[in-house]
């Protein structure tokens, strides 16, 4: 099945333990002219403000930034949820941040980012869940699935820790289960 890039407005990715190296490798291989915004919510240490973005930018073919509250979502950029903030996507194609309580022991919480993206972009969203050590993100992926977005789960056989992908697979059957390389190829081959 051919998936057209014109059918989508954004990619949203969630991951926890082990996902940094997966994301880093994916961004190193993604086409420099990839035109959809990529929004990533990864569990991260709350006291380490810098470093993650710098590390990803070393290898990434697309600029990686941490959005400020009310920033516009622009194509051709990778956005990483800032530490100690939840990241939401609004109907007016902007980000909003929040310091509300932790969800699944996490701030940023993947469920919040994915669910709000599903509400804003509905079927025009590709949701990807990667390796991770808790169930955060599974409900958000289900929201994307329910709103007819395209859902991809990292193949548990390729995960450092399978809890997050398995929690997602327990809730619904995604469009695809792929290895990190297959996910990158899929994104690069969107026409």
């Amino acid at each position: 099945m051919t998936v057209s890039i014109n059918d989508y407005k954004a990619i949203v990715i969630g991951g926890s333990a082990g996902s940094f190296s997966v994301v880093s490798k994916m961004l190193a291989k993604i086409k420099p002219d990839f035109k959809l915004p990529i929004i990533i919510c990864m569990h991260r240490l709350k006291h380490v403000r810098s470093g993650l973005v710098d590390s990803l930018n070393i290898k990434s073919n697309i600029p990686v930034v941490e959005p400020f509250d009310k920033d516009k979502i622009e194509p051709g950029k990778v956005y990483i949820a800032p530490s100690n903030y939840h990241l939401f996507i609004e109907f007016d194609n902007t980000f909003s941040l929040s310091t509300e309580g932790v969800h699944n022991h996490s701030r940023p919480a993947i469920d919040y980012t994915l669910s709000s993206a599903a509400t804003s972009f509905r079927g025009k969203l590709i949701g990807i869940i990667l390796t991770g050590a808790n169930k955060d993100g599974a409900q958000g992926m289900k929201q994307i699935h329910t709103k007819n977005g395209y859902t991809i789960v990292q193949d548990p056989k390729t995960c450092d820790i399978v809890t997050m992908p398995k929690a997602t697979l327990d809730l619904f059957t995604p469009k695809a289960i792929m290895s990190p390389d297959e996910i990158t190829n899929f994104l690069n081959n969107l026409e």
Binding site: R49, E66, F68, K70, N84, F91, L97, S98, E100, S116
Partner: protein, 270 residues
């Protein structure tokens, strides 16, 4: 199971709340309103929308709404680097005029108590005055009892160490098996303003710094601009507005300029 408010419910509730509480609830971010009213309805065990609306009309729910609606600050010394910079500024301040701070929305005690711990550690209580707005009895009671959320005990301790590893938690916090609170002797230099911050403000040109971190993330841009403008009058000519580290002043503002990029501190233009 509590009632989950719909988009239309929120459109009905917010003008009514604005009228009763004299603050613009219609211009909070919409997704925030949806989450916050869902939370409020759970906390207050609201089973029907009419129960909530009646409680607003007859005033029986207003104190609870004022207490529960704002987002509590997550921890003592959130962003220790911000507090380090503030401590340096306080330490370097030498004037016969008091250094005036204003916390317009006391959503929880952590931001205020972080400031009070710094003031105590520098022994400059006599040189500082702090205004804060309180609009409900529970917040006042929490303040007077030095309330701190015990869930954040370890986090607060590690943040204090990140601020300055020579500081000793026991000098500031009562930490026993039964109690976890700010020591009462630190609760000085405080001037409580009754009501919300649009109704009750410190004197004109008096404030050195407004601490308003991570509050406007819940507003839309229109309300953010209005609130930023409402702060100008009380700031002293070189006064500062501290926002959260991932916040910016509204675009094209001609009222503030960036003073510290890493900590999102802005200086008023006047």
């Amino acid at each position: 199971m509590a009632y989950i408010p719909t988009i239309n419910d929120i459109r009905d509730i917010t003008p009514l709340l604005s009228e009763k509480l004299h603050f613009d609830y219609t211009n909070y971010g919409f997704s925030f309103l949806k989450r916050r009213f869902t939370f409020l309805f759970q906390k207050l065990s609201i089973k029907k929308l009419s129960q909530f609306i009646d409680g607003i009309h007859d005033g029986s729910l207003l104190d609870d709404i004022n207490y529960l609606f704002p987002i509590p600050t997550t921890e003592l010394f959130r962003d220790p680097s911000f507090w380090r910079i503030l401590r340096q500024k306080i330490n370097k301040y030498h004037s016969d005029k008091k250094l005036v701070f204003w916390l317009p929305e006391l959503s929880s005690n952590e931001e205020l108590f972080s400031l009070l711990i710094i003031i105590q550690s520098l022994n400059v209580g006599e040189d500082v005055k702090i205004y804060l707005n309180i609009n409900n009895p529970q917040s006042k009671s929490d303040l007077l009892s030095g309330y701190l959320d015990i869930k954040n005990k370890e986090l607060n301790k590690s943040n204090l160490k990140r601020l300055d590893d020579k500081l000793n938690e026991d000098d500031f916090i009562l930490n026993t098996e039964d109690e976890y609170s700010l020591k009462s002797e630190l609760l000085k230099s405080l001037s409580v303003l009754d009501g919300n911050f649009t109704e009750a403000q410190p004197p004109k040109n008096s404030v050195f710094m407004i601490l308003f971190r991570n509050t406007m993330v819940n507003y839309n841009l229109r309300l953010q601009k209005t609130v930023e403008s409402s702060f100008v009058e009380c700031l002293q000519p070189d006064g500062l507005l501290a926002l959260g580290i991932q916040e910016r002043i509204s675009p094209n503002s001609n009222e503030y300029f960036l003073f510290n990029e890493n900590e999102s501190i802005y200086k008023v233009i006047k």
